[in-house]
């Protein structure tokens, strides 16, 4: 099953009620699979093939407000085009779930620019390593987004081509098990008969005299989502037998490691193979997979900061003129510690540039050097 089929299958299992999409490579086949499901009556939801991405986001936003479970998906330029309404989806605290099939803005091939450019819209962002994780993460995303303690939209990022079109075995849970685990979306009615002019319906916007209140509430909601994401990941593991670290980050072979590399999305898979090789050679380095990019797991990284002498962040992005997105967040998390590890920056896989097992091995050796106290360059484009 390809990554896109895994996403479409999860959407079907989640009994989504309103879906909207506009084709763009490499997201397109999700739309096609969903269309087939709809044409065969396998999904009962309303599927709107809209005239552009801006509309797709607004359609699911309004549908979510009206109480429907929703799904939208896009890639690269489409993601950038729908930026504006993404702000109001999240500030209205609507549990929309979106798949972003990464496509770099400078090529068809993937990097994380499309979704990371949306960071300031305040969605939860989860990244996937393989096609099984794509399916599972979509199911978890609905539970997270609709949890009353969260009520935020969730974006699920996975690499175009590398996952979207790559076929590999995926275990599909039964409809019944998903139905049992994921109850229907409970929402506040917007029907005229239920309308209370005194509150004006749901209002998360300004509130009170402080014009900043909307930002404060939204920001806190994201921070408060951290423990809920962990909890839902745990619960998913109990029911379906698969979980992804603690839901925010995952460690791989870090026992006895002196240093770690941090990778996101499909790069983590290749990194695992490199870690196996490095450890087979007696090199004490492990891997941390960063699954939840937003909100950021500051506490996790403080723990890692205590355990490891060097951390190398591999960013499939560059915030131009600033640096790697993950790198900056990790360094920021560690600043208040008395004894900080070395933190190195690697940019890799932008515009879909292939990253090979050997590249990760080299990266690993360099991080280990830094852990030993040797002088190495701070930033590297792999």
């Amino acid at each position: 099953m390809t990554g896109n089929k895994a996403a479409a299958t999860a959407v079907k299992l989640a009994r989504v009620e309103v879906l909207s999409a506009f084709p763009v490579t490499p997201q397109t086949t999700i739309t096609q699979y969903l269309s087939e499901f709809a044409a065969n009556g396998e999904i009962k939801g309303e599927f709107v093939n809209a005239e552009g991405e801006l509309s797709t986001q607004v359609i699911v936003q309004a549908a979510s407000r009206a109480g429907a479970r929703t799904f939208v998906c896009t890639s690269g330029p489409g993601q950038l085009y729908m930026h504006h309404p993404m702000h109001s989806t999240s500030s209205s605290r609507l549990p929309v779930v979106m798949a972003t099939v990464h496509r770099g803005n400078k090529s068809m091939q993937p990097d994380h620019t499309d979704l990371m450019s949306q960071t300031w819209t305040g969605w939860i962002q989860l990244y996937c390593e393989n096609n099984q994780e794509i399916l599972d993460t979509h199911l978890m995303a609905y539970k997270i987004a609709e949890d009353k303690r969260v009520r935020l939209p969730v974006a699920i990022g996975y690499d175009g081509y590398v996952l979207s079109y790559t076929a590999e075995p995926v275990e599909v849970p039964s409809q019944k098990s998903v139905d049992d685990w994921l109850p229907p979306y409970e929402y506040q009615s917007i029907l005229p008969k239920d309308y209370d002019p005194a509150t004006g319906g749901r209002g998360f916007g300004g509130g009170g005299r402080d014009p900043q209140q909307g930002w404060i509430t939204h920001h806190e909601a994201l921070l408060n989502a951290l423990p809920v994401i962990k909890e839902i990941n745990e619960d998913f593991g109990k029911v379906f037998g698969r979980k992804y670290g603690n839901g925010l980050t995952e460690t791989y072979k870090t026992e006895g490691a002196e240093a770690v590399m941090v990778a996101m999305g499909s790069l983590a898979g290749t990194a695992r193979a490199a870690i196996d090789n490095l450890q087979a050679d007696g090199k004490p380095i492990g891997l941390i997979k960063l699954k939840c990019y937003q909100p950021f797991a500051v506490e996790d990284f403080k723990e890692y900061g205590k355990k490891f002498k060097a951390i190398g962040m591999i960013d499939r992005n560059v915030c131009l003129g600033h640096g790697g997105a993950g790198y900056r967040l990790i360094r920021n998390s560690l600043y208040d510690m008395d004894e900080r590890p070395k933190v190195l920056q690697f940019h890799a896989g932008l515009a879909g540039k292939e990253v090979r097992v050997g590249d990760f091995e080299r990266v690993g050796e360099k991080i280990l050097k830094a852990a030993k106290g040797d002088k190495v360059s701070q930033v590297e484009w792999v």
């Binding site: 096609q32 269309s35 087939e36 044409a39 093939n49």
Partner: protein
Amino acid sequence: MDELTITPGSACQGCGAALAARLAFKALGPNTIRHGVPCCPDSATMTPRGGGGVFEGGGAALTGTWRALKAKGITDVQVVGFFGDGGTYDIGLQGISAAAERNENIWVITKDNEAYMNTGNQRSSSTPLYAMTSTTPVGSVIKGKQTGKKNIPMIFAAHHVPFVATASVGYPEDLIAKIEYGKTLTGFKMLIIQSPCPVGWRYDPAKTIEVARSAVQTGIWPLYEITDGEKFKLTYKPRELKPVTEYYKPQARFRHVTDEQLAGIQEDTTKNWEKLLKSDELGQLLI
């Protein structure tokens, strides 16, 4: 008239849209600035490109180029958008409509292959009733597209712009004549060229011209021009229309269409044709 497309291009064998590009740019001539938005085939021409190809921004991009030329006192250059139906009918419609309303001195030429072919044949609002695309598949419950084709030329006629016309790759002389006439006009000009796509419409690539011609001869795609939103002229008038089945049958995208559905299409097509004939007689567009 020189060939201005750079060939061979990346289009599939027998691509109608590639022929549309060839004919259109031949007629437009070398004093042309071309804007493209994402679509296939990405026909390259020997004329300069005007912009970065933002899919949703065709009308605005043309406006920017034309206004810059105007500000510099250059008025003899054809500023041409060569878009797909997705770019004109759907994602870019708002901007193109706005440019038409402002009567910008530009061309919007659309190679209409009735779906988003570049991304693998998804429906657009130009996809005709019942056609199978990858987002309007033939399933056990729903079979093909359930709504009809948007009538874009008439929508733009209602903007009262200087020139709106339809064309077909099956009728090159008509296509070229329309562009030559449009070149004499100042203001907004639109040409929609029906451009069969063997891959998406599912027929033998050798039949591209045959399919295009049959669309015209059956009245599915009438050839006409509208000036100033009023003056109407049919530019191809067969004595009698051929039955629509001649157009539908060879295309596998319509394979599932029932006889009853075809009868409905025949009825609508005849009705529309009679209305156009009447407009043609009056020389005045009847709505």
